[in-house]
């Protein structure tokens, strides 16, 4: 991964500084895959805090543990050691049903779009509104509004097969954002997008961060989006080796 432009960033250690107001609070997290002789530890004593409205980008070489940490924060894996508090909920020792409930409050953006081919763009987005209290017409309006914001207003009734890779990825992003979650976890969300679409996605995430005080934790190798980060967290060999706040000049 290329380093962000040094003249635009000021590096400052902030790990553990946020305290109780954090949207995400990671403390002493270790994680291993496998058992007995095949056991392999991938995360080592990690600490991280994510503040409301903050966009943090996580970088690091492949196999450094970024995705494992992201899935632990997203309540997609059971905790082994340490503590992670997400949106005020401790994830350790939680029954699976509680983790499912917590996940409903998180927006997930995956590297692959994972859209249902049978559903239109609008319906693919509405799938995420299953647990909202909105009326059906409001769901449709909300889904179409976010698709329009992502430049897909003219594609709401299209099925994924009829759309480009970038358009599909934007639908997946719309699906994550439509519930206006307080925490968004994204894995390379802009990798498949052109310059303009990538900029639009980041602009939308930024708008959500400002308007709703939503926090974004984003794994990326995309230099085009790194410059929009409030913080850059770097993992190497399962350890957060740097956690820097970016102050814009």
């Amino acid at each position: 991964m290329a380093d962000p432009q040094p003249d635009r960033f000021e590096q400052t250690r902030t790990a553990g500084a946020a305290g109780a107001a954090s949207v995400v609070s990671v403390k002493g997290v270790n994680y291993s895959f496998g058992t007995n002789e095949s056991r392999k530890q991938t995360l080592f004593d990690n600490h991280l805090d994510l503040l409301p409205g903050e966009i943090a980008m996580m970088t690091g070489p492949s196999g450094s543990g970024k995705t494992t940490l992201l899935t632990l924060i997203g309540a997609l894996r059971a905790m082994q050691d340490g503590s992670i508090i997400v949106l005020g909920h401790e994830l350790s020792d939680r029954p699976p049903a509680d983790l499912v409930a917590i996940r409903r409050r998180i927006g997930f953006i995956f590297q692959a779009h994972n859209l249902f081919e049978a559903l239109t763009a609008s319906l693919n987005v509405q799938v995420a509104l299953k647990f909202s209290d909105l009326r059906q017409d409001e769901r449709e309006r909300q889904a179409d509004r976010i698709l329009t914001q992502l430049g897909l207003g003219h594609r709401v009734q299209y099925k994924p097969r009829a759309l480009s890779g970038g358009e599909r990825q934007r639908i997946a992003i719309a699906r994550a954002l439509v519930t206006r979650p307080k925490l968004i976890l994204a894995d390379e969300p802009t990798a498949a997008l052109d310059q303009d679409s990538a900029r639009e996605v980041i602009r939308l995430l930024r708008a959500l961060a400002v308007e709703d005080r939503s926090s974004v934790l984003l794994v990326t190798h995309d230099n085009r989006v790194l410059e929009s980060a409030d913080r850059i967290v770097t993992l190497v060999d399962g350890r957060i080796v740097s956690d820097v706040v970016v102050q814009r000049q």
Binding site: F110, V127, K130
Partner: protein
């Protein structure tokens, strides 16, 4: 249904070609089940054809008689005793010959087994107006009515045809519609006098000591068959069995079910159809889910419980069974009509029988769906990253 998004239905129907193939597969299983249950029911229904056409509320049969197919007469004066019972309007004898009745094809002279049924034409014991209207013609000795739904090999059956029944010359004076069953290819109805004229051995065996194959008892209007049957059981000695019409139907069905392998064979065929359908349905769902594993994992990642995802798969399975049932019914009805016209068997699709196969179809797909759910939950949401 996913609230607001009919995911199961759209998953099932978005690819019309694929949907068509899936529906054809399940419809084939529906057809199999309908054919097997149809043949089984036809077997039972056909054995009851004669009983159903008799205008009786209660039947008397010999205690030793296991089924209408086997001859086992009882003493005729039991009917006279029955006539004395309250609520009994009339009690009439029915004579049936299965074994000695040979019909000669009037065209080619070939001989064929036939069922000969006889009654006293002064009192029409049949429900069919067509038979009763022609009953007076049977008072003439050697006149008979021929079942026009009998197999073709019996030859001409028009009124006026002269032929032989067990070497006695008889004249067809009219026809009626009864139908064939698994043991009888045709039937002929005549008076008791003609019956004993054609089958003189039966005269010796039955008329002299007074023995009869079947007793048909009609109650006065409003009479309760159950109550009347109970009274007759008290009144008559145990050498005869008193049965209401439904009890007699049940007895015949029970005999066929327990004493012949036919019911078992067709039931097995239905089960085979069920499993063939279940396998087809599972294969369809499995392929569809395998193609959408990441999508199902995504649903779970964004907060759908495993139960909700399972429900989507089950809805898809049940929807598949529902839309496949319609072409299955249509194809079955066409085949029923074709087979009925070729064989004369009473292949009927009643609402209850249709509902039974619908129930089997739904269960078949629901079981397949329940197994396929495991596949939908196979990919952990964490593996999406």
């Amino acid at each position: 249904m996913t609230r607001g998004v009919p995911l199961a239905w759209l998953n099932l129907t978005h690819n019309l070609k694929q949907t068509g193939l899936s529906v054809a597969g399940i419809a084939f299983a529906v057809l199999l089940m309908f054919m097997e249950t149809g043949f089984r029911n036809a077997m039972f229904d056909s054995q009851l054809l004669l009983i159903n056409r008799l205008d009786a509320d209660i039947f008397l049969i010999s205690r030793a008689k296991s089924t209408l197919m086997f001859q086992q007469p009882f003493a005729r004066h039991r009917l006279e005793q029955a006539r004395a019972a309250p609520d009994v309007q009339w009690a009439e004898p029915i004579y049936v010959e299965h074994d000695a009745a040979l019909w000669k094809n009037a065209s080619d002279g070939s001989l064929h087994d036939i069922r000969a049924v006889a009654f006293e034409p002064e009192r029409c014991v049949f429900i069919d107006v067509e038979i009763c209207r022609q009953a007076t013609r049977l008072t003439v000795l050697d006149n008979v009515l021929f079942d026009r739904q009998s197999k073709e090999f019996f030859g001409p059956r028009t009124a006026g045809t002269l032929t032989e029944l067990s070497t006695r010359t008889v004249r067809i004076v009219g026809t009626f519609a009864l139908g064939t069953d698994f043991t009888h290819d045709g039937s002929v109805i005549m008076s008791a006098d003609t019956f004993f004229h054609v089958f003189p051995d039966r005269r010796v065996a039955e008329r002299s000591p007074g023995r009869v194959e079947l007793g048909a008892i009609k109650l006065v209007p409003g009479g309760s068959p159950q109550h009347a049957a109970a009274r007759l059981r008290q009144l008559l000695p145990p050498d005869v069995e008193v049965l209401t019409k439904q009890e007699y139907r049940d007895k015949e069905n029970a005999f066929l079910d327990a004493s012949t392998p036919i019911g078992y064979v067709f039931n097995l065929g239905t089960i085979m159809g069920f499993f063939v359908g279940a396998i087809i349905c599972y294969q369809i769902l499995f392929t569809d889910i395998t193609n959408q594993l990441p999508q199902f994992a995504t649903l779970r990642a964004i907060g759908y419980s495993d139960r909700t995802v399972a429900l989507i798969v089950l809805q898809q399975a049940v929807a598949l069974s529902a839309i496949s049932f319609v072409p299955g019914v249509i194809a079955s009805r066409i085949l029923y009509a074709l087979i009925a016209s070729l064989t004369g068997l009473p292949l009927e699709m009643s609402l209850l029988r249709g509902a039974w196969v619908l129930c089997l179809t739904t269960s078949m797909c629901a079981i397949s769906g329940a197994i396929a759910v495991r596949k939908a939950l196979a990919l952990a949401p964490a593996d999406l990253y």
